[in-house]
């Protein structure tokens, strides 16, 4: 299963990656995606997650071709 992963802002700097494409048969949830993509780092408590640009929680199931994003609390406006 191919999953496109994106990290933004402070989380991008912390993880040290902006974009990564996973190709794994073992990931099923967003939480699994984080573990694999971040290299096993603990997820900061306030991390926000989106799948295909919609907000989800860590238990959300991912499917082939999904774009999964991780980012800190937003500060626009």
């Amino acid at each position: 299963m191919t999953i496109a992963v994106k990290f933004f802002a402070s989380l991008r700097e912390q993880v040290g990656k902006a974009d990564i494409t996973l190709d794994s048969q073992t990931v099923s949830s967003v939480s699994d995606v984080w573990k694999l993509a971040s290299g096993g780092q603990p997820m900061p408590a306030n991390t926000l997650m989106a799948v295909n640009m919609d907000y989800v929680d860590a238990m959300h199931t991912v499917t082939e071709g999904d774009e999964v994003a991780f980012f800190p609390p937003v500060t626009g406006g």
């Binding site: 933004f8 989106a50 937003v74 626009g76 406006g77």
Partner: protein, 156 residues
């Protein structure tokens, strides 16, 4: 296209745009009203909010700022809240423009404008759009201070 994320055929009109260059919010609203909004004489109320960069934050002088965003999701989210405002209030049109990239103090960051027949809807919807934008739209600010840079963590 001037308004790349405009959806002007879905009942309530909404336009959202991410801007990589500086903009004059008053000129934008005025231009939009004259060239895009097809409702002259129909709206009695226009509520406009402009957020601009301050030269101080949390007690520290701020020299510059970089605004990062999640391309695609920001537009999607701004459209979503614009349409939601159109469902909740009796509005004629709304416009959101948000800057990304490098900014300096005094630069406009965000423009929200709402047109409606009567004032309550314009006031309510413009405030709703700003609150939703600030709490959920995927933008992040990184400030440049004299001592280095830092991500803004609180969005009050």
């Amino acid at each position: 296209m001037r308004w790349p994320f405009s959806h002007r055929s879905l009942g309530v009109e909404v336009s959202v745009e991410i801007r990589e260059q500086g903009f004059d919010p008053y000129r934008e609203v005025s231009d939009y009203q004259q060239t895009v909004l097809d409702a002259a004489g129909k709206y009695g109320a226009t509520a406009v909010f402009i957020g601009s960069m301050r030269d101080i934050n949390e007690g520290d002088a701020v020299q510059a700022m970089t605004l990062e965003h999640y391309p695609g999701m920001t537009e999607r989210y701004l459209e979503k809240i614009s349409k939601e405002a159109g469902q909740r209030w009796d509005i004629i049109d709304s416009l959101i423009i948000h800057r990304v990239g490098d900014l300096h103090p005094e630069d406009p960051i965000v423009l929200v404008a709402v047109w409606s027949a009567h004032r309550a809807a314009a006031f309510d919807a413009s405030r709703f759009l700003m609150e939703e934008l600030k709490s959920r739209a995927p933008f992040w600010k990184k400030e440049v201070l004299s001592t280095g840079s830092r991500w803004v963590e609180k969005n009050t």
